[in-house]
Symmetry: none
Subunit: 146 residues, 2 copies
């Protein structure tokens, strides 16, 4: 597998660590990603995590605009001010810091959600509800993928 897919929920231990699902670690290894760029999602109350090239992409996006524009300023506020680099420990676990807890509402469990080129950390309950809402909205609009 070469992209992040599916979701899984893991427990946070007494030291505040949580195991990143094995399949996600496999993708990271395959893409040779050793350090995670984590940032606050623009839409949902979730932390997004991916390789450093994610940040590069965002910065290229900014570079395409007038560097003194309010839009560029705002974008930088989000991706730089709301972003951080993190590493996994030897067992593939991640420290769940206050940076993550405060933005997501995570307390003692984390739902990992694949998003193709990155993955996300959600509070389990919040993820369930957001997904149900997205499904409901699609139905109302009569849209279908494919």
């Amino acid at each position: 597998m070469n992209r992040f897919l599916s979701h899984a929920t893991n427990r946070i231990d007494a030291k505040g660590r949580v195991s990143v699902p094995s399949s996600f670690r496999g993708v990271l290894a395959k893409l040779d990603i050793r350090e995670l760029y984590c940032f606050q999602d623009f839409v949902f109350p979730a932390i997004s995590a991916g390789g450093p090239e994610l940040l590069d992409r965002f910065e290229r996006q900014i570079a395409g605009e007038d560097p003194f524009s309010p839009q560029a300023n705002e974008m930088s506020l989000l991706i730089h001010g709301g972003g951080v680099f993190m590493k996994l420990d030897q067992e593939g676990r991640l420290m769940v810091t206050d940076f993550i807890r405060d933005f997501t509402g995570i307390t003692n469990e984390v739902t990992f959600v694949g998003r193709a080129d990155h993955f996300q950390l959600w509070a389990p309950q919040v993820f369930q509800e957001a997904q149900a809402a997205a499904r409901q909205e699609r139905r109302l609009r009569g849209l279908r993928p494919g």
Copy 2:
């Protein structure tokens, strides 16, 4: 046969496995599908399963939109976060995980339902009712298939 047709109900064993109907496995072999892309159906409480090209089709749909739009983000939440790759064991059985149980209400039996280019997993009772409801609705509208 080169498409998924008809429906059949099989039992889940003590280890949580269920046999995929032989005719469906035959279609999978014919289409050279070795790994199943499974996702939560957008309308019914059923898991849909098909070849990886199903996911490709969804992703092409997303690619047509602004990648930073809430719509694209939402769509990805469903097809990436709500999708899984699964494999059959050597006897053609599938593990019925919580991912499947929680969404479908499946407990100890699975109804497999052919849908041409993919098939679905339903709780038997729920399938019966949904099919009956669909039939009823058609009758009220005076419509006939074909």
